[in-house]
Structure formats: C-alpha cells, structure tokens
C-alpha cells in the first residue's frame, strides 16, 4: 500500500482551519442578514462585519476605515494597480514601476494600464531573485511616476523584496506604493505604521480562510478609482453585498496567523532547510532558486538539470506528493516560469523547476519521505529526459 499523501503546495492554497470554519458557521444560518439592512438581522450582520474589519485592521497596523474586503489577491492587485493608476493618470502621471517577477495579477493589470496609456517600467532582477535596487532608484526617480507595485514575497521562489526601501523611494518620488502580500502575510510582519505603503493585497485562502475572500489595505486619504460600481458598500471602493461569513472567517484566520507568525516561521524554516540540505546532498547539481537571497521559509523551488517539471510533478503526484511548478495555464499544462526567466535562469533549468511549499499540514516525517523519494524520481526522469 502507498503511504499517506503529502501536501507540499501550501503556496497554492491551504485548508480552512477548524477555528475559522467554526467562527463562520453561524453566519451561514441563523445570522444570515444583509449588513446593509436596517432591521435586526441586518444589524447583527453589520456588527459582525464591523468587528471583523477592526480585527483585520489590527493585524495590519491599520485603522478600520483603511480595510476593504475583496474576493482575494487578484482583485486586490487589480484594484491597486488600475484603481490607483487611473486616478493619477488624470493628474498627468502615467508611469508604473513594477517587476518582471510579479504575479500575473499584477503584471496583467500593469499591461492593461499600458493599453490605457501607462508607461510600463519593469525592474530587472538580480540573479538571486531580488529586484535590482540600482534599477529601482533609476526607474522610480525617472519622473512621471504614478505607482510602484512590487510583491513582498515571490510566490515561486519565496524571495523577499526590500519593500520598505522601495516604498520610501516611491513616496519620495510622489508615487503610490502597492505590494502584493499574498505570500507574505502570516510570514512577515506587515505593519502600516512602520512602512509607508499605500495599498496591500492579502488573500485569505493562503492561511486557512476560504477561497474567495481577501483583505485590501488603502491608506487613509489615498485616491482610488473603484473597479466595480453599484453600491456604497466599503465606502464605494468595493460595492456589492458583503460576504459576512467569509469576512468573519478571514478575521479569525488573520488573527491566528499573526499570533503564530514567529513560531510558524521557525517551524517551517527548519523543515524547509532540512529538505533543501537533504536534496542538495543527494542531488549535488540541483539548483535552488533564490538561494542567495532572503527567503520566506515556506517555499523551496529547485531545478535538476536533465529533468522536466511535467514528468517530476506527475511522478510525485502518482507517489502521493503534491507539488507544483511555477505557474499553470488555463488548460492545466505547465508553462515556463516568467519569474525564473526574469532571474536569468536557463530555459532548460526553468522548465525543470519544482516548487514545494510547506505549511500547516507539513510534518518532519513528510520532509524525510520526500527527501528520500525525490532523488529516486530524479534518477528515472533523468534516465531518458533530453534524449531528443
């Protein structure tokens, strides 16, 4: 019999935590009201929503009116990039500085803005996966800056970007600063009082809340054009009937993540480092992406020469191990990673990348099993890969 399956794809999504599920439950049933209604059902929902917003604000070092609910990271990124840029465009500032390693939610929003007249300035990456600060200083300072959008933690490599410095540079240049913190929340201290970002996008399902809910931070007084129209919910920044149960769940999940953050970091880092060391010991020519940079502790992205991601991911899955490659397209096929390409990783190595991401479900026993299994699968994939 095969052993129990091992989930090493926490950067893709996580299970809803029991505490979160429990907190949400009443708002599907007895407390089902519409938070905009004036009757008792409405008031009950409104109270839960207000309270959730306050709790989320505390998790971000923010005021409640600086927190907006979204459907998740993609919406937050679109809202910041397009909603922020469109306001400044009207004031004659058209440049967007971003990086070529961003999640597609940011990159495609930037491309959309470019179609509407934005000047696109994508920052170069150092080979270790951090943005080039020389390039950042030049591009941010080049005039006409509307907005900078750089992700806090890269979803493929786990590399941490110098957000504080980038935000400072952007503010000095008179621009708005957005960071996609989807992989950062719960790993890194995100505090609006410490770093002068204007927008932050967070996605609930990366840390135990359900899919379809996210928190979006907008610093007080920051102009923003909404993407949706039709109501006054969330101050008109995000109209539509609020998803009260999910908002309650998100608040609970965020609080738990903040409480556990430091301990969680250490737990994950020990396991990730163990896996990394074991793989490098057994497959000495394996390449760990972002190895020289500061990295979040939950992601290990590795390429082995002479293999390909597709074969390895299939082989791992058939052995019960869930991992992923950089990004999957709509049909579910593996496409070469734009992140690794931006880091200057050779195409054949980029197409061999396997991302293993640790989280709440990970155990040291899992790590030991994968450390044994992965090198064995490499041997098979190497046997014939590259014959053509």
């Amino acid at each position: 019999m095969t052993a129990a399956p091992i989930y090493l794809d926490h950067a893709a999504t996580t299970p809803v935590r029991p505490e979160v599920f429990e907190a949400m439950a009443p708002y599907f049933g007895p407390r089902f009201g519409n938070a905009s209604s004036t009757h008792r059902w409405g008031r009950e929902a409104r109270a839960a929503l207000d309270e959730s917003r306050e709790r989320i604000a505390r998790c971000l070092g923010a005021a409640p009116d600086e927190v907006c609910f979204t459907s998740g990271g993609t919406e937050g990124d679109n809202l910041a990039v397009l909603g922020g840029w469109r306001v400044l465009k009207a004031k004659g500032k058209t440049a967007i500085v971003s990086s070529s390693m961003e999640h597609k939610a940011v990159l495609q929003s930037v491309h959309q803005a470019a179609k509407e007249g934005a000047e696109e300035r994508l920052l170069r990456s150092e080979s270790n996966g951090t943005v080039s600060m020389d390039d950042a200083r030049a591009q941010i300072g080049a005039g006409g800056l509307a907005l900078t959008s750089v992700m806090w933690v890269n979803n493929e490599t786990g590399v941490i970007q110098p957000i504080d410095e980038l935000a400072q540079l952007t503010k000095a240049a008179g621009g708005l600063f957005h960071t996609d913190a989807v992989q950062a929340f719960g790993k890194i201290d995100i505090d609006a009082r410490k770093i002068p970002f204007d927008f932050v996008a967070v996605s609930g399902h990366k840390f135990g809340a359900p899919k379809g809910i996210g928190a979006f931070f907008i610093r007080r007084g920051t102009p923003l054009e909404p993407l949706f129209f039709g109501g006054t919910q969330d101050r008109g920044r995000r109209p539509g009937t609020e998803n009260v149960p999910y908002a309650v769940g998100l608040a609970r999940a965020m609080e738990l993540a903040v409480e556990e953050r430091e301990a969680h970091w250490i737990t994950l880092e020990v396991m990730r480092d163990r896996l990394e060391a074991a793989l490098l010991a057994r497959v000495p020519d394996a390449l760990v992406h972002g190895r020289g940079a500061k990295r979040a502790p939950h992601i290990l992205n590795v390429s082995v020469p002479g293999t390909d991601s597709e074969s390895l991911l299939m082989a791992l899955d058939l052995q019960g191990v869930a991992a992923s490659s950089g990004s999957a397209c709509q049909s579910g096929s593996v496409t070469p990673s734009h992140v690794l390409a931006a880091m200057g990783v050779r195409a054949d190595l980029a197409s061999a990348a396997v991302r293993m991401s640790l989280g709440a479900l990970s155990t040291p026993a899992d790590i030991e099993r994968v450390a044994e299994l992965f090198p064995a699968l490499i041997q098979k994939a190497r046997g014939l890969a590259g014959v053509a």
Binding site: E310, S311, L318, G332, L377, K380, A385, A388
Partner: protein, 382 residues
C-alpha cells in the same frame, strides 16, 4: 454489449510481480477513440494514467479540433474524471513546433507535400510520450489509433475504413513492445457504441480529418504566417506544360499539390492537373490525368518495423496515400534509409513528401517519405 474477451494482444511483462497492475500512460486527445481506449484499459485492470498533449497555442485561432483546443483538454479531463484516473496536460508546444510544424513548412517550401501526422506520431506521440512514461514507471503507453500490435509487430486496424497504419510507419520499432492500441481491433461504430454504453461525454463527438494545427484546412495561411514574405515558395512563377510551354503564372508553387485540378488555367480540351512542382525555377507543371501515372518510387528516411526487412525482389503491398488500398509491388532496391519500389500497375499522383507504407498482408513492414515517383510519361526538366 461490451465484448468480454480480452482484446489486448500484449502479454504482461514477466518482470512484474503477481498482482501488480501494470501502469499505462494513455494519450487522451479529447476524442472518442482515445476516450474509449482509456476506458478499455481501466476495464482490463491496468493502472491507467491519462495525459493530453498540448501541441500548439490555441489562441482562439483554431476553433475546436480533436486535440489541442481548450475544449478538447476539458473533454479529456472529464472522461478521466468519469473513469476515476489521474489526468495531466503535457505542454509539448515547443517540441511539436520544432519537430512537426517547422518541418511541415520546410517541406512545402521545398515543393513537397508533407504529412505532419507521421512526424507527430514518430516524434511527439511515441517518443516524447515514452519519456514521460519512463519518468512515472509506466511500462506501457496507449493511444486511440486504429492499428494493432501483435508479437512485437504492427498490424493494420480491423476496420479497413479507419486503419491508421499509414501514419504510424515512422515510430521506433522498440516502441512496439510497449504499445497498446485498444480500439484497433474494433470498428469505429463499435468504438462509438462502447463510448455510449460507458456514458462517455465524447461518444458523439464529430471527427476531423484535418490537420490539427491548420485552421479550416487552409495550409497556405500557415505557410504565409511562418515563411518570410519573400519566400520563393510563395512568389509568382510560371505554369508550364509537360513540354515546357509557359501557359500562365501562379502566385507561389506552395499553393499547389500534385494531383490538384482546381485553380489551373482553363481553355484546354481535356482536364488538366498539377503533375509536378519544380522549386528550381518555381514552376508548377501541369498536364493531362495520365501524366500523373507512376509505376514506381524512391523513398527516403526509411524505417523498418520488422526485425528482418524484406529482401530485394520480395513481393509486397504498397500504399501511397491514406485510405487508398495497398497495391501489389516489388522491392527492387534496399539501401540504408532508402528503398526503391516498383508497382505491378501504375497509380495516380505519387507525391514527393507523402509517405509510402509497405505491407505484407496485415503486417506493416515499414515505410518512408516519397522522394520521387517513376513516371510513365516524361516531364521535361527545367
């Protein structure tokens, strides 16, 4: 009714411990044939893993084809879900572009008429797929082709109207030992009936005879996209008769194929056909139907699928196009990678670039790419 007798001629490898279900990697295009192939393998107790090969970018340009469109990937996935087997999508766009599409374009540019499906089977389906099979410890690979494998030999499909061996001559002989072709012993009607019986969503799916990456059968559009604007194959040139008389102009010889009748100058008392394409002087040679007759051919890139290839002088059956019945002939020369074949009776339109497949009854001996035909009537050179 599902036929209960085992249709699989492939014996299980002796090395597998008793009780182990051998793993088979089945290529699922999203069409009815490969859906049924996967279902039959599940029924027969194999450890089936399904893959759909994404061969080219489907940027809305190619509507719905048996393979490659998003719709087809979804169909294959739904069938796999129905069968309870894992399903993966393989991105082979780069390899397919290099091994198949680039060759397709180069062949037309050289005045030949290629069959991309042959190269797709040779390289993509039965080589790249095998690499994936090795990586997941699958001793077997399977497809929905209408052909059979027995005793390490490739045989024509049971359904004469559907037999696809014409496209399979190029695969590595060693692959045969690992190949399972479940629907090859059935007729198309039986395959559909089984699909209906199993409730597969692909049961009624129409089939396409077109080349998957050529939208609306308009191969010239693909050439115009892939070739430089000043490619000789797409430039104006003379239309000449067999004796060399120029009777008109054309806008690129790659727009014509041997045997074609449409689009030629009229005014002649008998129907005219494209007899040959001559890249040297960009000429399209035309003539009467009997000028298409050939009684022999030379083939290159020859691949044998039998351990002992036929000796010179052997009587064989020869097929020069899909669906045409094989005709009797003789192997008159056999060198490394090249053969010459004479036919007992002349046939029409032996086209360079097309495949020739050699048979001994049901057994596929091998095949090659037609380099030239031996004409009955002479054509004056450029």
């Amino acid at each position: 009714m599902i036929d209960d007798t085992c249709h699989l001629d492939v014996p299980l490898p002796a090395s597998l411990p008793a009780g182990t279900r051998p793993r088979v990697l089945v290529a699922m295009s999203g069409g009815v044939d490969s859906s049924v192939a996967a279902a039959m393998l599940v029924r027969d107790g194999y450890d089936v893993v399904g893959v759909t090969m994404k061969l080219f970018h489907d940027g809305g340009e190619v509507p719905d084809r048996p393979c490659c469109s998003l719709e087809s990937v979804n169909d294959a996935r739904r069938v796999a879900e129905h069968l309870g087997i894992p399903h993966y999508v393989l991105n082979l766009q780069d390899r397919f572009g290099r091994d198949v599409v680039a060759d397709f374009v180069a062949e037309y540019a050289a005045g030949r008429t290629p069959i991309p499906c042959v190269r797709c089977n040779t390289f993509t389906k039965f080589r790249d797929l095998l690499t994936k099979a090795d990586a997941i410890d699958a001793p077997f690979i399977a497809t929905g082709h209408y052909a059979r494998v027995a005793d390490g030999r490739l045989l024509r499909g049971e359904d004469d109207a559907k037999d696809q061996t014409y496209f399979l001559w190029g695969i590595d002989r060693a692959v045969l030992a690992r190949m399972i072709l479940p629907v090859g012993s059935m007729t198309k009607q039986e395959t559909r009936a089984m699909a209906r019986e199993l409730g597969l969503i692909t049961a009624e799916k129409a089939e396409s005879q077109e080349i998957c990456f050529v939208p609306d059968g308009d191969y010239v559009k693909v050439l115009e996209r892939e070739l430089p604007a000043d490619a000789p194959a797409l430039m104006r040139g003379p239309i000449v008769t067999l004796d060399g008389t120029v009777v008109g102009q054309h806008e690129g010889f790659a727009r014509y194929t041997v045997g074609q009748r449409r689009g030629l100058p009229g005014g002649s008392h008998e129907p005219l056909f494209v007899i040959a394409l001559r890249p040297e002087d960009r000429a399209v040679v035309i003539g009467p139907r009997e000028a298409l007759l050939g009684r022999g051919l030379i083939a290159r890139e020859v691949n044998w699928l039998v351990t002992t290839p036929p000796a010179v002088g052997a009587a064989i059956q020869v097929r020069i196009r899909h669906r045409a019945p094989p005709v009797p002939g003789t192997l008159v020369r056999s060198d490394v990678g090249e053969v010459e074949v004479m036919l007992d009776s002349a046939v029409h339109a032996i086209s360079p670039g097309q495949s020739v497949v050699l048979y001994d009854g049901d057994v596929v001996l091998g095949g090659g790419v037609i380099a030239s035909g031996r004409r009955v009537l002479p054509v004056r050179a450029a």
